[in-house]
Symmetry: C2
Subunit: 457 residues, 2 copies
């Protein structure tokens, strides 16, 4: 018992020192190590269907894609990897998904502790100091929610696979794989053709779509909803902004997808109206970060690609396995414009004021993200002959860990695969470490310079 | 004398009421009227080389392009329009250029008057109330600087055209046209092939390049430099930020252009080193808003197009004839990131503090600009079969009133020409009216909501 307490104290001290000092280093380091570990596992001959050792670049690409829960692939997941390989990939997704949520929880805890916020991550109204108890509670929530949703998806899909005559073991494996892949917004499919053959199969699409939707909300929203789902008025500002943005983006993007693809014979043109609407909403949910697709993205219209570039870049909820700059980051930028348009001193939403430092953080995350995507696209185009439309799509998909693709990743030269690997890694640890580093780095200075207003615009 | 004073008072009252109330309406209305007027002039049979009436869409496109000092064309300027037509275009550029600088001056005056700033637009250190004297002084500066630079360029180019055996009157007309087109960052050329035949002719490129560079700085910088060029330390924050950003962007983009185009046989590959370096800097200066080009943009690499998309979007200086979101807008965003990275409470530069409302304005201008460009590109792609790379290039070029083109504007369907016309108009009056509307719309509220921090990134 004493030993346990000692261990607890050691962890507490570690959170205080190492993590507070450099959450960026922790995130960068731990993801690099886990990716290399899974690269090793996928390099085992037993991992491939043929029993031959996978080329290093493909093992590294697949491991990065799995651990960063992206879903981009250079080989056909269902055909190339053996059952063991699929298991390794599912494990990589699970470890990566839990890892990113745990890291986000730790960082969130460190930030709230450092800032001494009275408004806490855990629950509206509670105002005690963050401690080990909070950490344990956070991690428990993360683990319980993720396993529950994954198992729920699997339980719904299992009988479906049985009815499709996949056999007991394959049905079990597939439903587990889809459960993990959906909740963690990974977008990997064990089926060779992905979900396109299931475009009319709502028994498949609905549980997977719901899993992706829930997975993209993030642990702060789970905590809030679990503890106070009966009192929406008391939800935290974060929860309200996340839910509103996710709903708005889903509806708006569904509308635009309908305009662009309804009559495209290569995607939705031949579907019945019900099937089209179902697929539009499935795609709309998956565009932000899920990465599953029920029609061929490569045959979609150019306008759809550009729309999806924007939606992927925005991404999902903070503290979730979804990527992008996160919906709350966009919300803060929009609230700043709204406040400015109304001539208000403060950014306000739901009777709360949002501090300037949050806006500056949002500007940093957005601008750095744009910068990385533009650099990545430039390098990618120099390495290949791929035009801007497809290059931008793949790079944004990698950076936002979305995993949708116009279908060019398999034929890329190794150095272009390397660019996408770098994008996935930066995208996964990037926004989190930028946000943490900025939030933790606060000085109070007494000296203020005189104000001067440059002319803008 | 009494009548004059009465007229002066009337103007002062008009500035106080109409302009302060709605600078946006003034800008939108006056530009629309002037564009329609020049569309009428260019529709005269005398305006074309053949003596036939120009199609309405081409007259409207050219008039918009001239008045918005953009430089995009749907017909070959030198071949299609008669001497009269070229004169109308030059007049349109001159009216548009003076108009935008005058409007910017009026808005700047209204803003500084409304805000009661102690730090004034006119000169560092002076702190008297803005009045008619200021307005007259501002307008005088705008007129004097623009005519001086235009005439200086024309005086340098005139003997060059004579040595090329263009004859006296054509040399006179061409040198005047280039003078107006360069200072006003219009990018129109009376030469059928533009400046590409002059790629090795530094007697042409240097005065035009310098004219574009000076024209893109903006009247607040002229005022500052004219009154206090000996004391750089006393320059306003706006002047310092503008000069630093313009210099940095020119050098960085020149370096990147060299990397992308040095060995491209279709652009710079066959040039001598000196000629390549000259053309790189000419292009680097013109990329932001000048719109002249000394090599064929259509044959440049994809990476160059993407780089130029970014540079065009950034644009030139506030209160200049250059377009884009403006270099100071980007500077404010970067300073916000810098302040956040250093953990400072305030955005600071050169011993001055920049208020939060300026950051919010910068976020608004940038995000609204991005939004309009993405919408415009989507519409443009739906109207044509042009892929993203070229569609984005033309739309950004129109919105940022840059005027560079990959060479597709002549063959566009009328509705796509309409999209570019809308982009040029919005780009020209857009940033200015957004900035003015936001700056003028200030309320002081006593109530402040409690602070709550959403999680971002
Ligand atoms: K994904
Ligand atoms: K221009």
């Amino acid at each position: 018992m004493d030993k346990l307490r000692e261990a607890g104290a050691a962890v507490g001290e570690w959170v205080d020192t190492s993590l507070l000092k450099s959450p960026a280093r922790l995130a960068l380091g731990s993801f690099a190590i886990v990716i290399l570990l899974f690269t090793g596992l996928l390099s085992l001959p037993i991992a491939t269907e043929t029993g031959e050792r996978a080329p290093f670049i493909d093992a590294l690409f697949t491991a990065t894609s799995a651990v960063c829960v992206t879903g981009l692939v250079t080989v056909d997941t269902g055909l190339y990897w053996s059952g063991w390989g699929l298991g390794i990939i599912a494990l990589g997704i699970k470890v990566g998904g839990l890892g990113i949520m745990t890291l986000a929880s730790l960082v969130g805890l460190a930030v709230s502790r450092r800032l001494g916020l009275t408004q806490r991550l855990l629950a509206a109204g509670e105002a005690r100091a963050a401690g080990l108890g909070d950490l344990r509670s956070l991690l428990r929530t993360v683990v319980v929610v993720s396993f529950s949703v994954e198992i729920a998806i699997a339980l719904v899909l299992f009988p479906r696979f049985l009815t499709l005559d996949y056999g007991f073991w394959r049905s079990l494996g597939y439903s587990g794989f889809y459960g993990i892949s959906a909740f963690n917004n990974a977008g990997f499919t064990p089926d060779p053709l992905g979900l396109i053959p299931y475009a009319g199969d709502f028994w498949m699409l609905v549980p997977i779509g719901l899993g992706v939707l829930v997975g993209a909300l993030g642990y702060p929203v789970y905590l809030n909803l679990i503890r106070g789902w009966r009192r929406p008025r008391d939800w935290s500002l974060h929860t309200k902004l996340t839910l509103i943005m996710v709903s708005a983006l889903t509806v708006v993007s569904a509308g635009l997808l309908a305009v662009f693809e309804w009559s495209n014979p290569d995607t939705l043109g031949d579907h019945s109206s019900a099937k089209s609407i179902g697929n539009i909403f499935f795609q709309s949910i998956n565009q932000r970060s899920g990465g599953f697709n029920s029609f061929d993205i490569g045959k979609a219209r150019e306008q759809t690609w550009l729309l999806e570039d924007v939606l992927m870049f925005i991404g999902g909820g903070s503290g979730s396995t979804a990527g992008g700059i996160r919906v709350t980051t966009l919300a803060v930028l929009l609230l700043a414009i709204w406040a400015e348009a109304r001539g208000r001193r403060d950014m306000e939403a739901f009777g709360k004021r949002i501090g300037t430092e949050v806006l500056r953080g949002a500007v940093a995350i957005t601008l750095i993200g744009l910068f990385i995507v533009i650099i990545g696209t430039t390098v990618f185009m120099a390495q290949t002959d791929i035009p801007l439309d497809q290059a931008l799509y793949e790079v944004v998909s990698a950076y936002a860990t979305c995993g949708l693709s116009t279908g060019i990743t398999a034929d890329l030269p190794p150095e272009a695969k390397g660019t996408l690997i770098a994008m996935m890694y930066l995208g996964r640890v990037g926004s989190l470490t930028i946000a943490a580093a900025l939030a933790l780095n606060k000085q109070r200075r007494v000296i203020r310079y005189p104000s001067e207003r440059p002319i803008i615009g």
